[in-house]
Symmetry: C3
């Protein structure tokens, strides 16, 4: 499964334009390289349209947004739309401030997204226009459980129908949905939430996979989420051998991404259609 998705990334390495936060930007650039893409970060109003033009996809991450970069996100998003480049949104901390929630609303009005990826609290905020996000982590009351998973899937499908975007909700269990169907993905490891940027990094992997698979956004997104989760597991296994902590875990996570291939993926994939 997903062999073709990974093959396309290797055969046509995508150039990925990110307008992103300064907290995790270095990890994002390195994981784009690790997964087979080539990163370019640029956020000045006077160059973002040109930069997006030479790229294959655009990732918009609102992690440390400010008035200057919000404008750049809209300009770049519109250009990417005009060129039919997939645009991926990471609504970091949506629900935690009026600026973030309002910016997401504005972006959704001005830009057509191919994929929106966030934790459950962020995605609920995108859906409802308000939320209870605690900082940049999901509200514990929002957790996806065996009990409510079908409800969450229904809401993801509805949001997909409303926005036209594939919706990726990530957490202990991940959901990737379009308006018609969904995947439940169970790869991953709890340690992933103990380092900063696993969400941001995943979003750029989605951006890379979609950049090389613009005609298969749903599959490319599911592949990226699966690969990231599996890297989380493999990195944990390596960590046990060296008695490492969270910083070594971060290193191993990106290492595993750079060593990923279809064989490894198929050996570890935990995915089902819902």
């Amino acid at each position: 499964m997903f062999e073709k998705i990974l093959e396309n990334v290797q055969k046509n390495p995508p150039l990925v334009h990110s307008i992103t936060n300064y907290v995790t930007v270095n990890d994002c650039a390195n994981i784009i390289l690790a997964c087979g893409g080539s990163p370019i970060m640029a956020d000045d109003l006077s160059e973002v349209a040109e930069i997006t033009t030479i790229c294959n996809s655009l990732v918009i991450n609102i992690g440390t947004l400010n008035e200057r970069t919000i404008q750049s996100m809209i300009i770049a998003g519109k250009r990417a739309n005009a060129l039919n480049h997939p645009v991926i949104l990471d609504p970091v901390g949506a629900g935690a401030s009026t600026l973030r929630t309002g910016t997401v609303e504005k972006l959704l009005k001005e830009v057509k997204f191919a994929v929106i990826r966030g934790n459950i609290s962020e995605i609920k905020t995108v859906y409802q226009g308000s939320g209870t996000t605690q900082g940049v982590d999901a509200d514990v009351n929002d957790a996806v459980t065996e009990k409510n998973i079908h409800e969450v899937i229904a809401f993801a499908k509805a949001l997909s129908a409303q926005t036209g975007a594939v919706i990726a909700i990530t957490g202990a269990t991940d959901i990737v949905a379009n308006s018609e169907g969904a995947y439940i993905l169970k790869n991953g490891h709890p340690l992933m939430s103990k380092i900063t940027g696993t969400g941001c990094m995943l979003t750029t992997v989605i951006g890379s996979y979609c950049g090389a698979n613009a005609d298969a956004i749903f599959e490319a997104t599911a592949a990226a989420v699966s690969v990231m989760g599996l890297c989380g597991e493999l990195a944990h296994a390596k960590l046990e051998n060296v008695n490492g902590g969270i910083s070594t875990y971060r290193t191993f996570l990106i290492d595993c991404m750079s060593q990923m291939n279809a064989n490894i993926l198929n050996g570890g994939l935990k995915i089902e259609r819902a």
Copy 2:
């Protein structure tokens, strides 16, 4: 010693708002997670008050300040004061430029700090309103020695009396003082000065510990300084085994923070009342 401080961080993981520099921000976010907190970085004027409101403490670091973020620091600081959240100041490079020295002066006028942490040159600048800081490192002429340590403690106590903040002066020997007393802390390793951001990281650990121990700022600060120093020692011991350089050292330092507990701390603590 400090068992209660560490226990409170584990029991009530603090959400820490940082307005900080873009050089060491990723390490700061990861070490907040490593020590048991949850980081959020946000610096836009239109959201900092809201973000601070949902957090337990605020860290202000002037490492790469600019006109935009200075305003954000003041707005966030005032809000945190209004909510009685501890606010921690890291006056990076105070004394190295008029902007930095002047910003510290302005911040001290507008915001009440719970803790101020810097190297001896930075803290002298805070005290005197001018200094001889060489870049972001302490001036060698300022070094804390056996000979002048009681003079430095007296000055730290005076600055604490003047500002109401606990003063943490870090270097080969660390001093944590309030207006009435002081700790001399001798954990640490010279390699800590060979990586960027150990000071910034320590300040965010102080922010995390104070966020979970708002009624014990003096003890929480001393605990954070001790823990960071001990991590520096433990990371060095691990480094010897693998013949690593400074980048591996940085990784091990954060690893050790994520593996710290009260037993390890008590086994290595080098602290005395002065």
Copy 3:
């Protein structure tokens, strides 16, 4: 060879001011420390001249430039020129947008550079005022080969004559030229292009070496390029032992820089005069 260059860095650790991008800034700060310098990053218009004044060299990197920082680059560059501090330019992505190409042109008019370092596409853009840079990587059509190397050297010499700067063109084979001569440097490893920031990091190592060897810019630049390439090789050798991926490679690269000395360098140097 280059013993004196390295010795001067150790004897008089240079303070290096960088106005740089937020993607690779942390790696740049750490590699400045690793190679024996001391980093300070500052980009606000109101402090850059003062900060440059207390430093030994200035590195200008346009990786994530914006209107605010372009002004700071010019102000800092002029001050560094007035003080005879070496100024190093890294024209990241020149050719990829009008803003970048135009900024390089403006910088070259306003500031006298001691060294300009980039990949072949970026340097061609500097020379021609336009280019075909693909994002931040060199255009494959621009590759330096056995066949065209003497043509590239001739063009590097011409650019040096035109700008007065030592020109460093880095890639699979590196060239360092002034108006009269050139080095061909063959240290390095292909994995270096699989992590973000090796170019940016090299530029700050050049900044450090030039800061401590202001009267030997040509030799200092060649030494820095050689050292970085050799670190790339040594890091790869270490990587094989641990079956690591690109993030471990990044760690080892900076580690090797912190463990470098004249003996190691002379044991691995692959350099010839052209």
